[in-house]
Symmetry: none
Subunit: 131 residues, 2 copies
């Protein structure tokens, strides 16, 4: 899929070749930019958002009365079973995007706005060509 890179056109426009640095694999001049552990931690947060149903859950909670909602409100619109919704909510809580508060029999979930803002900052800051 999408593998057509037009193998003929671009190469013909190439001049003579670079003067000296004809070698491609120059040593990584700067620094590894993003460490392995930091990448794992960041990927874990993205992984929590990498599911359509979890995104909808997050959105529905944010759209609630006081930016909170209980499980029974969320189960039906998604068309998922209650255990599945509970599972997704747990993942979002573990990732720091939601908080859980049990009031009586019901469990109310609310968003953590700083978490999303922090992630957005990391997106544009660390990865957006600004090291």
């Amino acid at each position: 899929m999408a593998e057509t890179i037009s193998p003929t056109a671009p190469t013909a426009a190439l001049p003579m070749a670079e003067p000296e640095s004809a070698e491609c694999c120059v040593p990584p001049a700067g620094r590894p930019s993003l460490g392995a552990e930091a990448a794992v931690a960041l990927a874990a947060r993205f992984k929590a958002l990498a599911d359509p149903n979890r995104l909808r859950l997050l959105s529905m909670v944010a759209a609630g009365e006081d930016a909170e909602a209980c499980v029974c409100d969320l189960t039906e619109p998604l068309g998922l079973g209650q255990p599945t919704v509970s599972h997704h909510l747990k993942i979002l809580v573990d990732a720091g995007f939601l908080t859980r508060e049990k009031r009586g029999v019901w469990a109310y979930y609310s968003v953590v706005p700083e978490a999303l803002g922090d992630l957005a900052t990391t997106l544009t800051g660390q990865l957006g060509s600004a090291r």
Copy 2:
């Protein structure tokens, strides 16, 4: 993946079940917050970022000379095989985070800053209880 995005078609036209317990389960006003297809599209972008090695690739490309790098530069620091790196890069290109330019034998990848900025905006705007 095994995600069923709720077979109910238009994502919001739920028949509004009769509220038996007036305490908790009140259907959220009627605004669907995030549609099913929008959630799928957004999740696809997050999924591309939900891997540590892909995040490091993105970061390394962004930290390159002109915010670009070729495959051979990226293979070694990651400790992955060349096909694997190529696979990850393809995923990032398909998600719109990178662009590929073939110069001679080498393939240079560069970041698409608007993609990250756009995603960051969506994060704080659509999900961050701002509506």
